[in-house]
Symmetry: C2
Subunit: 334 residues, 2 copies
DNA sequence: TTGTATGCGTTATCAC
DNA sequence: GTGATAACGCATACAA
């Protein structure tokens, strides 16, 4: 390890023959510095390979430029596409993202937020889990902004971004009925995530309003395998359903594969299927899944613009976005 | 914005009735502090909501604890699973990951590395693209460690982690021939990524050694859609191939879907298919793709252990890992 | 516009 | 084991 330290503004100043404040000003947007001085500094910096130390800058300005993304199951299609959208928009706004991986354990999100505090993140965006109120209060008290995505939480301070899950569920119920389906089912995981439960409740309520009951089946985590298991459970019943709304596309893919390859069923002729998220795989020709599109780019835009905005009052704020129904061929008609 | 600054060690010291050095020592592992003092400090810190400022600590120690992950197309299955593995292992080693999204533009990776330098990242891990030598030299000169994953680059300084791509390709060629295939094809994208090209060259060479020619077709980016297009190109030929090695699973999924649904072909009866990466979808029952498993956890372990290791000589180092062949049912026999 | 001086929160060095 | 003090690299109030 050559352990030669990074080059500092001091060294640049000496080489350029100016004061170190001139160097600082050159790299501070909106500071007054003459073009001549500025150029001398820039040349010296380039020659020396100088880069502003954002650690020190953050210390001074009390603004690190860091935004924490707190998320579990990063490898999942929907999650990773949301991460992509967020990091991109954050970069465009001059922020940088820290990625913290949480697991299902209890204090996992709290630990992540503590890490965000240690690095003096300007904001944290929570995609998974729900932190303890004490720790979010701590974040807010320290001037850190908080965004909760699909957490459906109504506490004061953070920005909450949610979708119209119940509404979407109602639209699916209608579509099923219009397709001639009468035995409705809902396939869910046991995660109990707010948005997942909202879809479930919305679907059951909408069906009830249409005079239909819903068979609700839940199993395991929110993934492909669980979709298969739920299919097993639903399709071996005497009163086999003729329409299934799956809480996520991943569940739907598992369900469809089991229905076709294990139960030799034809979709949508024998059974209609709908999903949620519109992951890339939903469009693959093996699935052609009718589903709701998570407006990831819009979610990211809402989150980031609120984060960087200097709204003096980051008071209680809540956004509800619309999930478009993407018609493919897993529901008859359309 | 309450703009009440974060609580500092100074305040904790006052509340606990000790010096700020005592506070510092309490939060520095391996420092000598009496249990009594330590407890007083801990209590005061808890009461005040104190968290060590890692920006300042990084400034002092010249070690930020930050590791930069530089990657494009985050939303892709293989990429996101690698990111998951890396962030997890980094967290386990007390590091935190910064995620920088690059695009296909030229200086994109260089820009990302500059960002890594500004935040004084202890290391950068590059999953996409290849930075300019001048900028990697700058990183290395500043004591930053560099890891290149599947970049197949042989420069001095960084750790290079690669797979035995050519070897894997040869195994596929053998498997195809053993399955009775004679008209081999290779489906690639136009990305020209080192590992993708290594697979292509390895496959062509191995086939040649077996006395067979290979039809090579390349198209677009490395995704599902390109797989479909390549299928279009390959399956409309007079000398339609009876075995196709796709450079990645995503290409393979697109290829399989097109072969089945557009050309009504049966896999593996009429055509054998193999992929690379072993993404989650490869195991889905619609594909059951025979493929090579990227050892993502092992890759992450190699990278992280090298990063945190205090090997005084981070000299030229290169690791070549083995990709296991996962047999499913897209190749006859097995 | 420019330079000087001070402080940000932390750790390391040194006496005690 | 403990407390004072000097850095770390930067931004800024202030004087020039």
């Amino acid at each position: 390890m050559s352990q030669k330290l990074f080059v500092s503004a001091q060294e640049v100043a000496e080489k350029a023959g100016v004061s170190r404040s001139a160097v600082s000003r050159t790299f501070t947007s909106g500071a007054s510095v003459s073009p001549k001085t500025r150029q001398k500094v820039l040349d010296a910096a380039e020659a020396l390979g100088y880069h502003v130390n954002h650690l020190a800058r953050g210390l001074m300005r009390n603004e690190s430029g860091i935004v924490c993304l707190i998320v579990s199951e990063i490898g999942t299609p929907y999650r990773s596409s949301l991460i992509r959208a967020l990091t991109q928009q954050l970069q465009n706004s001059g922020k940088i993202s820290m990625l913290i991986n949480t697991d299902r354990s209890d204090g996992s999100v709290d630990l992540a937020l503590r890490q965000a505090i240690r690095y003096r993140a300007d904001a944290s965006i929570i995609l998974s889990g729900l932190p303890d109120k004490s720790i979010t209060d701590l974040c807010l008290k320290n001037g850190q902004r908080l965004v909760l995505i699909n957490r459906d939480d109504d506490r004061e301070g953070p920005l909450s971004i949610n979708l119209d899950d119940a509404d979407a569920a109602a639209r699916v119920a209608t579509a099923f009925v219009r397709a001639g389906c009468r035995k409705l089912a809902f396939a869910n995981s046991q995660a109990g995530t707010p948005s997942l439960m909202a879809r479930e409740r919305g679907f059951v309520a909408a069906a009830k309003a249409l005079g239909l009951d819903v068979i609700v089946e839940r199993f395991g985590h929110t993934g492909y395998e669980s979709g298969r298991v739920v299919a097993q459970q639903l399709l071996t019943r005497k009163d086999r359903p003729d329409a299934v709304f799956c809480a996520t596309d991943l569940l739907a893919c598992g369900f469809m594969d089991a229905a076709r390859h294990q139960f030799s069923m034809s979709i949508p002729d024998q059974i209609c299927v709908a999903g949620f998220d519109d992951i890339e795989q939903a469009a693959w020709s093996s699935y052609q899944l009718t589903t709701f599109a998570q407006p990831v780019d819009m979610i990211a835009r809402e989150a980031v613009s609120w984060l960087v905005g200097d709204s003096a009052q980051p008071e209680h704020h809540s956004v509800r976005l619309h999930a478009d129904l993407v018609w493919r061929s897993s529901i008859r008609g359309g």
